[in-house]
Symmetry: C2
Subunit: 177 residues, 2 copies
């Protein structure tokens, strides 16, 4: 155990707050990140590298963000650009914190269905393990919202650790995050 | 992250080899243990404490281990004692390795259904997270043998990380361990 060698590469899937929106991280991704630093990385800042993946869900109709339904191709382009910038601001939250404490990291954005994209990125990037936040929903709530963490635990091709929100951090509507 | 404070307490559930029997650890528990040292503990040996739990399954008829079915109460007592000693020898494998590299640990034996007992001990001992080895069985094989890791991921009241055996370590019959 003396020689350290390559750092342990931990992928952390992060999402934006459903309550406050961008650039705020969701309660569960902030919790999973802080847990990873406190319980795994600890003072061994050179022993780990964090890989932050944020998956943006494309709007089905593309109008979520518009004031008007009469959008030009330029409107679409600028909307896509704005959305990308917002995603980057979310990643900045994590990136900056790592930089402040001296933990190496990378961060990137992908588009698609979060659970599918996370598993795909695990295959591509081959982290040592994956950390995902979990809202800790009951079976009834899960039916309606699906859970990314549960899917990843089953399907990701690396070890996965799901970190539930603490009871004190659970918002009034537990589906919120 | 400068001050270290209390070590991170990792519970590691360990079992004996189904192929070689006591005192040899199962492939999956040895793998989960080595993974934890290599990927989590790394050189930060004072930052972690490992808590080894071995659950022994009581024989249904109590005669598994006997040369004769005409057992006296003394035979039973000595059999129970022998079994306990074997469990301690299994734990010694993990304990000794931790001692050699300077990682604090505790180890103990319980009797019962492993998946139930592990979740019960998580509630009692409150580790920061639980590491369990997994044989990585397919859905068909799982129906017949049940899987401790899957149960713990769902029911243990702490984060759980299941470590699958590598393909190169999987024995001819994947149910073996």
């Amino acid at each position: 155990m003396a020689a350290e060698g390559e750092p342990t590469r931990i992928m952390v899937a992060v999402s934006e707050s459903t309550i406050k929106g961008y650039p705020h991280p969701s309660i569960s991704s902030r919790g999973a990140f802080e847990w990873t630093l406190k319980k795994i990385v600890r003072s061994n800042t050179s022993g780990f590298k964090l890989l932050f993946l944020h998956v943006q869900v494309p709007d089905e109709d593309g109008f979520d963000d518009m004031d008007s339904i009469f959008a030009s191709p330029e409107d679409f382009a600028s909307m896509k650009h704005r959305n990308k910038i917002r995603g980057l601001h979310l990643l900045e939250f994590f990136f900056k914190h790592c930089h402040d404490i001296g933990v190496a990291c990378e961060a990137w954005i992908k588009k698609g269905d979060p659970k599918e994209v996370i598993c795909h990125e695990v295959n591509r990037v081959r982290p040592d393990f994956l950390v995902v936040g979990s809202r800790g929903l009951g079976p009834f709530q899960r039916v309606f919202v699906g859970t990314v963490s549960e899917f990843c635990v089953k399907h990701a091709e690396c070890p996965v650790i799901a970190i539930k929100r603490s009871a004190s951090e659970t918002p009034q509507d537990p589906v919120d995050d």
